[in-house]
Amino acid sequence: MEAQPVHPAGQRRRRLRLPQDPVRRVVLAVFVVALANGLLWSLLTPPFEVPDETAHIAYAQHLAETGRRAGETGHPEYSDEQAAVMNAMAVQSIVGHPLQRTPPAGGPDRSADAAIQQATRTASRSNGGGPSTASSQPPLYYALAAIPYRMFSWASLPVRLEAMRVLSAVLFALSAALAAWLVAELLPGRSWAALVGGLAVGLSPYAAFVGSGVTPDVLLLLIGTATLLIAVRAIRHGLTTRRAVALGLAVGAGAMTKLTFLPFVPVALLVFVVLLWRDRAALRAERRGMPGVIAAGVAAGVVLPALFVLWVGLIGMPIMQAGTSTPSLSPDQIHVSNTREFASYTWQLYLPRLWFMTELFGGRITPDIAWVQGFAGRLGWLDYDVAPRVIDVFRRVIEIGIVLIVAAAIQWRHALWRNRLALAALAAFSLALMLVISKAGYDFRRTTGTAFEQPRYLLPIAGVWALGVAFACLGLGRRLAPVLAIVVVGLLCLHDLAGILATLARYYA
């Protein structure tokens, strides 16, 4: 019998075959769209123009070049190379100056290129890593970013920066895909819901802008969404050893990414304990038994923090590292914190002010200013926005969406009740994060007089946003919901394009 010829191409075709499961197909489609969007924004936004990207690049470079975390006293924040590149690209004159453009063609661009190449050849890359706005943060994102950085160590800093941004774009696309999966988990049998929910994250110009930069916020977006998904799956399908390990790993990774994640930790622990109690009979029947599941979950949760403690011990650095902060007001200008005012602040930050509440901090705290306008598209170093009429339309769509969510909640109340534990978990994760943000914002405004809140701090609960968008479509009823989903996808595309146009106008027109 003759041997059958081998067809490598045929094998490749089989390997690339699309998944048959509709949910997986939708998740894949969302990943592809979000990846295109993330890559687009990574190329569109000039280097160093994502908030705090200068500090994040300095951290990643220092870690990649020296194996040490940033925040070393006596060091400048930027290496000589980064300082020279930022100078060549006129970064300091562009940040916060919305009418300043990047160096144009016809001379300035060639001068900048020459200065960058000169810095690549001669300037030190390892003498930065001093205290910065990022140096007090844990190192997981920077350790991951160091991989593409090292892969392109032969190239100029803008090339290494773009390589790190590509990594961010992949993390962003994975986040959108997980958000779609989360929606599919809670609204099963409706492919359109997973699609519109995932695209609500993947096509958001604000999320794509932040998510395609060199910033730990994108890893936090991914890990936050993953944590919500794992918790919901464990609640709906039961706690298993694998899910306990996944939850532990996600929580440990989040804690090693950014301190903003810390409010998720007690909520995840609470979910874990509740599930251990609810599923005790099934867990006792597992091969490892309940002690095995507990041990696996806890071990997974502490493995990354333990590695971090070991690492900083080996390199002789403290666990809590120095950072820089906004200058404080003089002591006589700082008013004393009080619980009642903090409660009022928290309310006014997320909800419309009630008649009996005092207008705090000159009326500059409203959900509209902090979140609606921000997510509509406050871009760059908060120095430009999408067009005002886009913000108006976004605001109207949000208002209509809230009405539709209420309508859907009434229609689908029985389904909501059946999923009450999962929804309670999502609410607990969201409230814990929002509370910590408002506490930080309240103290920051009291002591510095300036605003703290930025929409990106809510990115870890982007999955809740995805669920809200999909659920709002159900407000029109079972038959019209898919039609509304198509309209929403169209609006999401237009919104993203508005952000792209605003960015072209900001930096290049």
Binding site: R25, L99, S156, V159, L203, A387, P482, C493, Y508, A509
Partner: protein, 182 residues
């Protein structure tokens, strides 16, 4: 042009109107470099305040030119001073022809002059055009600008790649919606 909130902003002198930097007293004239513009400006936007004294006539003049324009009625805040025809570059001076002072906004950077002497502030000029270039006439230039000054991380094709990715993204999203939203 590409953003509706600044349809006619075509340039500036790099100074933001962060706060009042000086009071132009009656018969004083403050001169400041115009900056650069992507297309010929028709007017200069400055931020002024009269502190309840009523609008004072403000004259825009250019050293070495007899051309001038005068703004008489205006509210506090951003106002536009028309640039006379045939003047497009160099230094522009704002003179107060009224009877009380006019606050003017800028930044605390040296750059403006008063009676030929450099001052420790610079007045903010935003250059506006009432006939901005059309989309189609600038898109090619804007897209070519995207990848410049990135030393290997971009190039003149970067903007076109961005455009291609945007088209692919929208097509995939709309195609997916048509496929699954039923």
């Amino acid at each position: 042009m590409l953003r509706s909130d600044s349809p006619s902003v075509v340039g500036d002198n790099g100074v933001r109107p962060l706060g009042w930097v000086t009071t132009i007293k009656p018969h004083q004239r403050v001169c400041t470099p115009l900056g650069s513009a992507s297309s010929p400006p028709d007017a200069i936007r400055v931020t002024v305040g009269v502190a309840g004294a009523g609008a004072q006539p403000l004259a825009l003049t250019f050293p070495g030119s007899s051309e001038r324009s005068v703004l008489r009625d205006y509210p506090d805040g951003p106002v536009e001073l028309r640039i006379p025809d045939h003047v497009a570059a160099g230094t522009a001076c704002i003179g107060n022809r009224g009877h009380s002072g006019v606050y003017i906004a800028g930044e605390g950077l040296a750059g403006s002059t008063l009676h030929g002497e450099e001052q420790p502030f610079m007045v903010s000029y935003i250059l506006v055009s009432h006939h901005p270039p059309s989309w189609s006439s600038v898109l090619g230039r804007v897209l070519r600008h995207v990848g410049q000054a990135r030393a290997g991380a971009g190039g003149s094709a970067t903007g076109w790649i961005v455009l291609a990715l945007a088209v692919a993204m929208v097509a995939t999203a709309v195609g997916a919606a048509a496929r699954w939203a039923r």
